[in-house]
Symmetry: C2
Subunit: 387 residues, 2 copies
């Protein structure tokens, strides 16, 4: 499935189905499922989510389109089709998941999905002018490359996604590099798919609103500890271990690989880093432990969660107490939604920065801990880079 391309259903499905029929399926009665469309976007940006499940006793839908409200129950019609109409929704890309009698179920009529490391979600598009910044438009597109490298740090093959801007392939220019980190539960496919990072960059570049750059999207989810480790780690221990492992992976593996294999500018003036949630925590860690590396920093919907603020204040004392810290940070941008459940950690982190007179820009939006916000933050952050 082309991620979020024009949602046209394609003719060849007809042929495919006729193959299937030839192959194995006995003749059967038509059902309401045959012509069902879900999600079905109506006039006025209302959306019908529906599923044919005649034997089910309960169907529920959850997702970020609910804007923090409780999951909704679908209702069943006489034909066995469960449905609910939601909205009007602001045009955007939304995730949703169905529960059919308690079983997590991908909408059988919607092949557009978001993949996490442990679970899937469906994605629905509500088209409109508001989505122009993240749409797949007829402008020059950069390439999104899947890159496998051998990590000595982790002892395994690891993948990253690398966006190279339009013109990279045929040119000889060197580019600044932006390291863009996903959140917990996701991997390096998060920003290129549901995060729409490629399209957001393409559109900003086409409009002359961003400098051409390479965007590196690593896998920030670390492998679990050896199974001999006694008991499950608590959250602070897990975060501390993850923080150290990821810092090693980025500094010893990913950055050297990128700077060796792509035409990059390799000074701090030409390096940026940003991340959402867990990736924001990783960004804060790298910004304060290696203030020499990145002059542009973005922290989306995050803060020092896990280890305490006291621990952070001790660990990063050198950077926090350095009167020269602000001088090299051309941008230190923090964004979060008013309904975000990590708001408390975010506020404590900003209080720590304030105490040490670390300067940053703060953007508080509506909404919660969702990709709805993260795509908007990326679109606002990128134009400020490498200026």
């Amino acid at each position: 499935m082309q991620w979020m391309s024009t949602p046209a259903r394609l003719l060849l499905a007809v042929l495919f189905l006729s193959f299937q029929t030839m192959a194995q399926t006995p003749p059967r009665q038509p059902t309401p499922n045959d012509t069902l469309k879900s999600p079905n976007v109506l006039a006025g940006n209302r959306v019908v989510v529906q599923i044919y499940a005649p034997k089910a006793s309960e169907v529920i839908v959850s997702g970020d389109f609910l804007m923090g409200a409780k999951p909704l129950a679908l209702t069943k019609d006489a034909n066995g089709v469960w449905s609910v109409t939601v909205g009007p929704l602001r045009p955007d890309y939304y995730t949703y998941t169905l529960l059919v009698d308690g079983v997590r179920t991908m909408d059988p009529k919607n092949p557009v999905i978001k993949q996490g490391i442990n679970s899937l979600e469906n994605v629905m598009a509500v088209p409109g002018a508001e989505t122009a910044f993240q749409d797949n438009r007829p402008v020059p597109h950069g390439e999104l490359r899947q890159v496998w490298y051998s990590s000595r740090t982790l002892g395994m093959m690891r993948r990253m996604h690398v966006y190279t801007p339009p013109g990279y392939e045929k040119g000889s220019t060197k580019y600044p590099v932006f390291y863009l980190l996903h959140g917990g539960g996701d991997d390096d496919s998060g920003w290129p798919t549901v995060g729409r990072a490629g399209f957001i960059l393409d559109n900003l570049l086409a409009a002359g609103q961003a400098k051409p750059m390479i965007v590196v999207m690593p896998n920030g989810s670390m492998p679990p500890p050896p199974s001999s480790a006694s008991g499950a780690p608590n959250q602070a221990q897990a975060m501390t271990r993850m923080r150290a492992l990821f810092a090693d992976e980025l500094l010893k593996e990913i950055m050297p690989y990128v700077e060796k294999n792509y035409r990059t500018l390799t000074n701090r003036e030409n390096r940026a880093i940003a991340g959402l949630s867990m990736g924001g925590f990783q960004t804060l860690d790298l910004t304060l432990s290696r203030p020499d590396l990145f002059n542009y920093v973005g922290v989306f919907s995050s803060g020092f969660f896990g280890p305490s603020i006291d621990e952070a204040e001790t660990k990063y004392a050198s950077a926090l107490n350095d009167p020269g810290f602000n001088k090299n940070k051309k941008l230190f941008w923090i964004g979060i939604g008013t309904d975000d459940f990590v708001m408390d950690a975010n506020k404590k982190t900003m209080a720590m920065l304030d105490k040490h007179q670390i300067k940053y820009q703060y953007k508080e939006t509506g909404g919660g801990h969702t990709w709805i916000n993260w795509r908007q933050y990326l679109n606002e952050f990128v134009p400020q880079l490498f200026r």
Copy 2:
């Protein structure tokens, strides 16, 4: 989800779940679902497929691992977990789909999937020495690039995947190009994901068994006709329209884009084409309508289906009756499984080629119309290219 990477479940899921808990989920009783693993590969290459669905009255699994046998019923235990143990299976990557009370359901415990244009399937890995040729191994990897281009032929943005071999990025060599086509119901993501094309190429190159090449995987599924068209097209009409549209797309859009933007060798001696099923039909069409373009041809599990053999014999009379046709085909390779439901079309196609003394190699394997065979065919075909 990293496609088919080491299936380790990652620690960060713990953190993610703790976020989720903080965010919205009320405390609840543990269920058997919490610790369920599916698919669970046992010693001896048997596999347990299982799902927690206490309210369901019937759960069925289908998939290519059944080797053409009928779908299997799962049985329910006292805890509400439905399961079935299958195998022993030959080590490979298999697709499967659950039906829970008639609702197509992605295994909630398995985020590894194959995406089609209209539906999803789960993928299970049964590890073993037999899969070495298609595993993600610690060898140099090429890059898999997602490339969006603007198609004047189709009037839309289109995507292809391009594999560039290890060393491409830093070198100046020009490479031969292999156009590799998917089947009906899929798109350009088929070969790079479930088809494991990148890993198969990586492993062949690392073993010195293939020439370095660029592999172009276009989207061969054509947009449907305008909705004003009266009635649904029959299969022959749909195939004829698709054949013409795809030939235009490849010749006018894709090949010029590739030859302009990548370091390619652009003569027939350095061009190959192969496809499976619908892509095999497209390959046959291009091979016989433009015999000047490709010296290496592969037809996997296909034949002239849709339009009749008589139509083909007329349409391609020029190539079929050209005594010089064989001279430029250094390889014309046809492969199919004995249980394949397009075997009849394949045989009629070979009879037509025989009648006109067109030479080809024929490989008949076991198995049916499945990715199990197509990955094997790719692994056998690629070493013969550009020799």
